[in-house]
């Protein structure tokens, strides 16, 4: 029992250091706060994938009573540690992602047209902003066919991430 507790303590300590590192990179004024708009980036950089809705709730948890636009490390640390310990918001596996594209590609052509992609991404789910849409298009769309071969796209992105 004691061993297990030690091990968990070590794990927690390691998580703390990891979270601190990720936090500090965005702490521009070196005063243990980050702009609330960076919280999503920080959480995702630690390997978690909350949806926008889940992110919204998390921010509410770590914000001050009266929101200042800044999140303090002291409030962020325990919340983030728990997320890591409980392995919450796991990233999307490759095959699930592929299936998602296949669902949208009802005609089973192996690709989506630019218009279709735009329609789905900006009208369904948690819609993309114009900036997000443009960015995804710039990397995903093959200019000649004006479509996205999603299987190739996913493969490329996965290689890139690793």
């Amino acid at each position: 029992m004691a061993d297990e507790k030690d091990r968990e303590e070590i794990i927690v300590a390691e998580f703390h250091k990891k979270i601190k590192e990720a936090f500090e990179v965005f702490d521009h004024e070196s005063n243990n706060t980050v702009d609330v708009r960076e919280i999503g980036t920080i959480i995702r950089s630690l390997g978690c994938c909350p949806t926008e809705g889940e992110l919204h709730d998390l921010i509410a948890e770590v914000e001050e009573e009266e929101p200042t636009g800044y999140i303090r490390f002291e409030k962020f640390l325990p919340v983030m540690t728990e997320i890591l310990l409980e392995r919450k918001y796991r990233p999307i596996p490759e095959d699930v992602l592929l299936r998602a594209f296949e669902v949208l590609d009802s005609a089973k052509r192996g690709f989506l047209t630019k218009e279709e992609l735009i329609k789905y991404m900006t009208e369904e789910g948690e819609p993309f902003s114009q900036e997000e849409m443009e960015e995804m298009l710039s990397a995903a769309i093959d200019p000649e066919s004006n479509s996205i071969n999603y299987k190739d796209y996913i493969t490329m992105m996965v290689i890139d991430e690793n």
Partner: protein, 614 residues
């Protein structure tokens, strides 16, 4: 019609909603990780930049040490050219010199006519635009002039320092600014930055640029620049409301003192004021008073304390040129840079109130968006060099002030055609560049790092936990970086999550100038090569690029004792001899230093370009 088909419809739209959500979620995660990588790369660049500046400041103490001991010990051997002070005669000499410069008829570049007019500005701009090698900062200047117009009586400008170093066109920029200043002396204002300092130029590239571009007159130009820098104003106050300075302030900043100080006496951050200045003590035996170097071999000796600033005045200027704002209240030594301080919002309020000012505009720090506002809107950082560290690293910006209205910011990013690469590729480029220079740091401390790793590795397994590895890296390199997040880029990690620490050195090696050279020696010389270059330049009294074996030995002795370098003097001598760099008992130090460089592993240099679908 009927229930079943509408529920199919609902089910279908539900699944497509879920599918869209999955894709969006995944994409946002991917984008965030890209952004984080970009920030990591920026952090690496910045940490190393500031660590270098700190190294530069540390040289200052070494120079004082060297002056005390070196000139004292080797006065007979060293030819101390007792130069007279800069005088009327020197001024006349300069005009004669300019007249005597022969510009051949074959020269088809811009020819300026004095007194200068705005056509001369146009001439220069046209000429520089046609140069083939325009990238970096000159492009930024052109863009600013294009967007905001050329300087004139109706379009005044303040340039807030750091016009030179790093970029390839520093002299062109300086020329444009100087000519503009001569044409519109009341409307174009130049502030001194910490890089308007001949000692900084030695390390950061401007000196090399001048000597390369001006083979005949380079040295003279450098001498003139040294003076020019010292005369640049330290700050500008706009409309009695806005203070514009390069770095920042401290809690003791005294604008009245700065206004009346004889700023031309501030030669370099590396030449601190003589200690005895304050009590006007001229103890010639110690030779402490007023012995100064400049980079061009003139060791001036003079006993007059009025040639120098007081310590207090000197520190005031250093604060202005080197300080950074931070969120924490108070005023603390700027440990990153080694000079100036960190000043908090309370300091800003105090100083602005004291002089009835509304805002502080400063530069000195690269910001991803080109500008940043802090201290409740009272401090603005403005940084105009886009892509400062690497293609895609940051935007540049300028600020436009109109009386009565709030300031407006204009951002830009000057890039080559590759700008239209997707974010991923730009981040890749930045990251590769940052990791590369970080590896160069790592290899330059291989011996110390290996020792530290082995100390932690009790079981002699060749492995450490990520935590232990990160601890060693941070301690030895002195860089506050997110080591855990970067570990996958820097070392091999086994399935258990342990680091094979010797893989920290696998992708790079220091080229050995000769086989017999001892690794530790080679590593040390590689590590200190920038510092050595500056020191050699300072000793090289006739700027010939050569120093005698005697000078080399004496300097090395001092250097190794001051920097606590545990290398046998005889080893260094042997190396110099083996390398056969002795030409009549002198060492060509540029050749000597060039022999110490790193080689990155081939595969890293030739990374395959992942073909993009867009």
């Amino acid at each position: 019609m009927g229930c079943s088909s509408s529920s199919t419809k609902t089910r279908r739209s539900e699944t497509s909603l879920r599918a869209a959500l999955i894709i969006q979620n995944w994409y946002r995660g991917y984008k965030a990780r890209l952004k984080a990588r970009q920030h990591y790369a920026l952090t690496i660049f910045q940490s190393i930049e500031y660590a270098d500046e700190q190294g530069q400041m540390q040289l200052s103490t070494f120079f004082s040490f060297m002056l005390e001991n070196y000139t004292h010990i080797h006065k007979e051997e060293l030819e101390l050219r007792n130069q007279s002070l800069e005088s009327e005669q020197d001024l006349r000499d300069r005009w004669d010199y300019v007249d005597s410069i022969d510009v051949p008829d074959s020269y088809n570049g811009p020819r300026l006519q004095f007194p200068l007019t705005c056509t001369d500005i146009d001439l220069l701009l046209e000429a520089f635009k046609e140069q083939q090698d325009l990238h970096g900062k000159l492009d930024d200047l052109f863009l600013i002039f294009y967007k905001n117009g050329l300087p004139s009586e109706r379009n005044p400008y303040v340039f807030n320092g750091d016009f030179v170093d790093r970029g390839k066109n520093s002299i062109e920029i300086l020329m444009i600014l100087c000519v503009s200043f001569l044409v519109y002396p009341n409307d174009l204002h130049l502030n001194r930055g910490n890089h308007e300092d001949f000692m900084m130029n030695l390390r950061y590239g401007f000196t090399k640029e001048i000597l390369c571009k001006y083979k005949l007159h380079g040295k003279r130009i450098l001498q003139i620049l040294e003076e020019l820098y010292a005369w640049l104003p330290i700050g500008t106050v706009v409309d009695n409301e806005i203070l514009v300075i390069h770095g920042g302030i401290s809690e003791t900043t005294d604008l009245n003192l700065l206004h009346r100080v004889e700023r031309n006496k501030m030669k370099s951050v590396l030449i601190p004021p003589a200690e005895t200045n304050r009590d006007h003590d001229t103890d010639s035996k110690h030779n402490k008073v007023g012995v100064t170097f400049n980079a061009h071999g003139r060791i001036k000796t003079n006993g007059s304390p009025t040639e120098h600033l007081t310590k207090h005045e000197w520190e005031q200027i250093i604060d202005i040129l080197w300080s950074d704002p931070r969120g924490k209240n108070g005023c603390f030594p700027n440990t990153c840079r080694g000079g100036g301080c960190y000043f908090g919002p309370d300091v800003t309020s105090k100083i602005l109130n004291k002089y009835q000012l509304k805002m502080l505009i400063r530069s000195h720090e690269c910001k991803p968006e080109g500008y940043e506002i802090c201290h409740d809107g009272k401090v603005v950082t403005i940084f105009s060099a886009s892509n400062y560290y690497e293609e895609g690293s940051n935007r540049g910006a300028y600020i436009k002030l109109c009386s009565g209205t709030t300031p407006r910011f204009f951002q830009y990013q000057v890039t080559k055609a590759t700008c239209f690469q997707p974010l991923r590729q730009r981040v890749d480029t930045m990251e590769n560049s940052a990791i590369k220079i970080l590896r160069e740091r790592v290899i330059s401390r291989k011996s110390d790092l290996t020792r530290a790793f082995q100390l932690q590795d009790h079981r002699k397994s060749g492995k450490l936990s990520v935590s232990q590895w990160a601890f060693c890296m941070e301690n030895i390199l002195g860089l506050n970086l997110p080591w855990r997040s970067l570990s996958s880029n820097l070392v091999n990690i086994d399935q258990n999550g342990n680091v094979e620490y010797m893989s920290s050195f696998q992708n790079i090696r220091i080229e050995k100038p000769v086989q017999e050279a001892h690794s530790t020696l080679v590593e040390t010389l590689y590590r200190y090569r920038s510092d050595l270059e500056i020191i050699f330049n300072a000793i090289d009294t006739d700027h010939s690029g050569l120093i005698s074996m005697e000078e080399f030995r004496a300097m090395w002795k001092l250097f190794s004792s001051h920097y606590n370098v545990l290398i046998d003097d005889s080893q260094v001598n042997k190396l110099a001899n083996i390398m056969d760099l002795n030409k009549d008992g002198s060492i060509d130090f540029n050749e000597f230093l060039k022999a110490f460089y790193v080689v990155h592993r081939y595969e890293d240099l030739m990374k395959p370009d992942v073909t993009n679908l867009g």
